[in-house]
């Protein structure tokens, strides 16, 4: 038996420990430690994926303890893929954000990297674990580290945004924990696979129904599904940029993953769609979330805020897709976990670059940016088109599956919301492009104006942006392969 599943989580954990100790001595040493730890985690995640794709799912018993006493990590095609996504983005962001961290939290870089690693521990743990209670613990590790990080951000409003997040986050976690409690009472186990085997006998149990609703509500709060999204925009836009770049693409997506895991592995699709009668309501909620997120994004004057509302909108895509009750919708939702993580990461990378040069990113501050930061803007344009859903960027292909799933389920309102949100996103981003493209020019023909001097972001950040931008297209055109090799085998 190999130990890759454990290494993915343990490497950042040990990294955090070492980094925490060295930070007492010298802040500078924490960065290489963090980089090494995440490099190892990323390599282990890739190894996991290769093994899973060739040999099938891995069952890993932590410290050799068998379930139900021990904690089991179960890596199948879905979480192997999400693990690669999480660790790769965490690693790449670390490379990209070195300068941003120095600029924003110069006296606390050590603390930053320690919390950053703990955050990744939480995320990778949530994705790997096959144990319901362990899932709770890891969600809380993720959340606690993000509370800290967000409080490190904006001097005036960071702490308040963080406090807000703490209140709502704790409520969400309590819901989930309560649900797990009910499951434990009825089944006597916390292992996901074992719960699943007992589910057919418990279909009629009202305790299980309550457990299901509580768990899902808890996850909804944590992923910021409208109308319980209120903590997200402030928390993400007042966080330090180096952290916003990772929390925005990953946190909500990992929670969507947790929802999919609960639905498919624990409660089972048969229970959710045939026994319960909730799906239609949730798809409607998702539809409203998409439209509300889009409309709220329209009214934002700050680019970061606008993007956070787009995240609220995208959460609706994935929740709706997963609850359509057919393979196409689930395929779209899972594909969108990957795609949305990449698109959001690309967008926040660009925002980070802008913040690095401009200090603030109100949309009206961005004039002339195509001349000043052409590479950043190129990446931004590509990522924006992906959000809008222009082929061949990846955003188009998940939208394709989602709309197809909506047609198959007869959920035309959901399909309509997806299309409208594409149009809204087009408006949103072209509003930004217009400021960047037109503003410095005065009336008239535009001849002979002074050349704009280029002031780009650090090379490391641009290199990462280039990698991610290319991946938007590569993942897009190979989405057929992803669906065939990862998602469909998992859904079978």
């Amino acid at each position: 038996m190999n130990n890759y599943p454990a290494i993915v989580v343990i490497a950042p954990l040990l990294g955090a420990l070492f980094a925490g100790i060295t930070a007492w001595v010298e802040d500078r040493f924490t960065y290489p430690i963090a980089l090494t730890a995440l490099g190892i985690a990323c390599a282990a995640a890739v190894a996991d994926l290769c093994i899973v794709l060739t040999h099938g799912p891995i069952q890993y018993k932590m410290a050799g303890w068998a379930p139900p006493m021990g904690i089991e990590y179960r890596i199948d095609a879905l979480n192997a893929m999400v693990l690669v996504l999480v660790t790769a983005i965490a690693f790449l962001n670390l490379v990209a954000s070195f300068r941003n961290v120095q600029q924003e939290t110069p006296d606390r870089t050590g603390a930053f990297y320690v919390m950053y690693l703990l955050f990744v521990v939480g995320l990778t743990g949530v994705v790997s674990t096959g144990d319901l209670f362990n899932l709770y613990v890891l969600i809380e590790i993720t959340s606690l580290s993000s509370y800290t990080m967000i409080a490190l951000g904006d001097k005036d409003r960071g702490a308040l945004a963080s406090l807000n997040y703490v209140f709502i986050g704790v409520i969400g976690a309590s819901f989930y924990l309560l649900g797990v409690g009910y499951i434990y009472i009825k089944t006597g186990t916390l292992n996901m696979a074992e719960v699943a085997t007992m589910m057919p006998a418990l279909k009629e149990s009202s305790a299980i129904l309550v457990a299901f609703i509580l768990c899902i509500l808890g996850v909804f709060i944590k992923m910021a599904l409208f109308p319980v999204h209120v903590w997200l925009p402030n928390a993400y836009s007042y966080a330090p940029v180096g952290f916003a770049r990772i929390v925005a693409p990953l946190m909500t997506k990992v929670m969507v993953y947790a929802m999919v895991r609960l639905m498919i592995t624990v409660f089972g699709l048969d229970y959710i769609f045939n026994t319960l009668d909730l799906a239609e309501g949730v798809v409607w909620m998702a539809t409203i979330a998409i439209l509300a997120g889009g409309v709220m994004a329209l009214s934002q004057k700050n680019l970061k805020k606008m993007l956070t509302y787009i995240i609220v909108c995208e959460i609706g895509y994935m929740v709706g897709g997963a609850w359509l009750g057919n393979t196409l919708g689930l395929t779209g939702a899972i594909l969108h976990i990957v795609n949305d993580a990449l698109m959001t990461f690309a967008l926040f990378l660009c925002v980070g670059n802008m913040v690095y040069r401009l200090g603030r990113v109100d949309i009206s501050d961005l004039s002339g940016l195509f001349g000043k930061m052409p590479w950043t803007m190129a990446g931004f344009v590509l990522a924006a088109f992906s959000i809008v859903g222009v082929p061949p960027t990846c955003g188009f292909f998940s939208k394709w599956y989602l709309i197809l799933g909506a047609f198959e389920a007869g959920a035309y309102h959901f399909a309509g919301a997806l299309l409208i949100s594409s149009l809204i996103c087009a408006v949103l981003f072209f509003k930004v492009f217009e400021v960047c493209f037109f503003e410095p020019m005065s009336e008239g023909h535009g001849h002979g104006h002074a050349a704009v001097t280029m002031e780009e972001a650090p090379v490391s950040s641009l290199a990462v942006l280039a990698v991610v931008s290319v991946s938007l297209i590569v993942v897009g055109v190979y989405s057929g392969t992803i669906v065939d090799t990862v998602i469909l085998p998992f859904l079978k």
Binding site: P391, F397, W400, L419, E434, G446, H447, V477, G480, T481
Partner: protein, 493 residues
């Protein structure tokens, strides 16, 4: 008929895409940059032309790039219709590149590197659309073309182009995302494929209302075709520099719109299916209204390029009308008109641009007596407008001839009436321009009687395209053969 697997179609698409980094890096040396444009353009044209014999031999050339879902790959396939369009676009791209040099340098425009780069991207997407093997691929290139054209339309970066850019995006992107995308996914949901097939992909079990809704979603959704009421982006887009108006808004962009409609009518619905459902007449009706209304509006336009724009809107609907006649001659005429109108209309735009470069005049009322100052340009204008009206000895006559035969073949006298009325209207809005250019008293003339043409780089291209329009009357073979071949594939006779 067999499918020859080859990467040539991909190369034809990629060549002007790959040259963009070179263009950008040689931005400070305009002559080097322009040479690269020509090299890439020539290679592109040669690759396209090299596939002509195979296509004329009744074969198709293609390859599958990426598998997305069963029946919906990203794949390229060159058939007769695609070849016809690609030939027109790639040959005119070369001529327009030459014209661009004269025009952009003549006016000392800013951002020329950006301009040529996005132009190259746009032509790449155009060829991609021409060679698309299925609706998904076509949609992909359609969207890329929409977005690549935006910086060209708004090139001047002033308030006016900002407003026009907004209108352009609202119409083009709004309809493609709002109508074509759901229609395409709906088609896939029903049939499980998006492949363009000779007889269409629908079966006769489909309900007529559903077919009608889908058809309308496509016809209006491909708003680049300028079907009313989604036409008003085109006059607005005339703020762009004239090479853009000439190549993109008379040939590439707008023809991708009608090309897409023709593709959907022939390859997705199928001629026989539409005839059986009796839906062709709906599209023909919509196209007829557009033809008549836009021609009437063109009469009252004083700005030269706006008049040309309204004329284009009408002429584009000829192509749609031809396909919607659902008769062999009509479809042939529609496809031929893609080529014939392209050469004629680009000549007229070149003339408008040449006059602007030479005199700075944009309005027709300021061009009285211009014939004495710019005789070559105005002679070319005359030939071009003959072709648009559809008079011999120009290529436009041939396509209009087939269109008229198509109406007779289908026994659709109303459409015949539309075509003839529109021809009269075309003559009514073009002939006065020519008449006032030459036939005026010395007092009325606004220009001195001294020949002073635009730069050579502007004049040579318009002479070439005017000559081609003329020659096409006598030698329409490559396009006529391709159209006939395509029709054989669609109707299977």
């Amino acid at each position: 008929m067999e499918l020859i697997t080859s990467i040539k179609p991909l190369l034809a698409v990629l060549v002007s895409l790959l040259v963009i980094p070179v263009l950008v890096s040689s931005g400070s040396k305009p002559n080097v940059r322009e040479s690269w444009t020509f090299i890439a353009g020539t290679i592109k044209f040669l690759i396209v032309a090299s596939m002509l014999p195979a296509v004329l031999g009744g074969n198709q050339v293609g390859l599958t790039l990426f598998k997305i879902a069963p029946g919906a790959d990203i794949a390229l396939r060159v058939d007769a219709l695609g070849m016809l369009f690609a030939l027109v676009a790639s040959s005119l791209y070369l001529i327009t590149s030459m014209y661009s040099i004269g025009y952009m340098r003549g006016l000392n425009e800013h951002g020329q590197t950006r301009f040529v780069s996005f132009f190259a991207l746009a032509i790449s997407a155009t060829i991609g659309a021409a060679f698309s093997a299925n609706l998904l691929t076509l949609y992909l290139f359609y969207e890329i073309l929409s977005l690549a054209t935006y910086p060209l339309v708004t090139h001047h970066q002033d308030a006016k182009s900002k407003i026009s850019g907004r209108r352009y995006l609202t119409f083009i992107l709004g309809t493609s995302i709002g109508l074509v995308l759901p229609a395409m996914i709906w088609c896939y949901h029903i049939t499980g494929t998006l492949e363009f097939t000779g007889g269409g992909i629908f079966t006769n079990e489909m309900a007529r209302p559903q077919a009608l809704v889908l058809l309308l979603m496509f016809v209006f959704g491909f708003a680049k075709a300028g079907i009313m009421p989604f036409h008003s982006w085109l006059p607005a887009a005339m703020v762009a520099p004239t090479p853009v108006s000439a190549l993109l808004h008379a040939v590439a962009v707008v023809k991708v719109g009608v090309f897409s409609i023709v593709r959907v009518i022939t390859g997705i619905f199928g001629i026989e299916f539409l005839a059986w459902m009796d839906l062709g007449v709906v599209v023909a009706g919509i196209a007829s209204v557009t033809i008549l209304v836009s021609s009437a509006i063109a009469l009252s336009q004083d700005e030269f390029k706006r008049r040309l724009a309204y004329s284009t809107i009408g002429q584009l609907s000829y192509i749609v009308l031809g396909a919607a006649l659902l008769s062999p001659k009509g479809v042939t005429g529609g496809m031929l008109h893609i080529a014939m109108h392209a050469f004629g209309k680009i000549t007229l735009f070149f003339c408008a641009g040449a006059i602007f470069v030479a005199t700075g005049k944009k309005y027709l009322s300021q061009m009285v007596g211009i014939g004495y100052r710019m005789p070559v340009t105005m002679t070319a204008f005359f030939i071009g407008s003959l072709s648009i009206i559809g008079l011999p000895p120009t290529g436009g006559f041939i396509s209009k001839w087939y269109l008229v035969l198509g109406t007779l073949e289908g026994d659709q006298m109303v459409m015949l009436f539309v075509l003839l009325t529109s021809s009269l209207l075309n003559a009514a809005y073009f002939m006065p321009v020519f008449y006032k250019a030459f036939f005026c008293t010395r007092q009325e003339a606004m220009f001195e009687r001294k020949v002073d043409e635009a730069p050579m780089m502007c004049v040579i291209p318009l002479v070439i395209t005017a000559l081609i329009s003329f020659v096409l009357f006598f030698v329409p073979q490559p396009f006529l053969d391709l159209a006939a071949l395509a029709v054989k594939g669609f109707i299977g006779g």
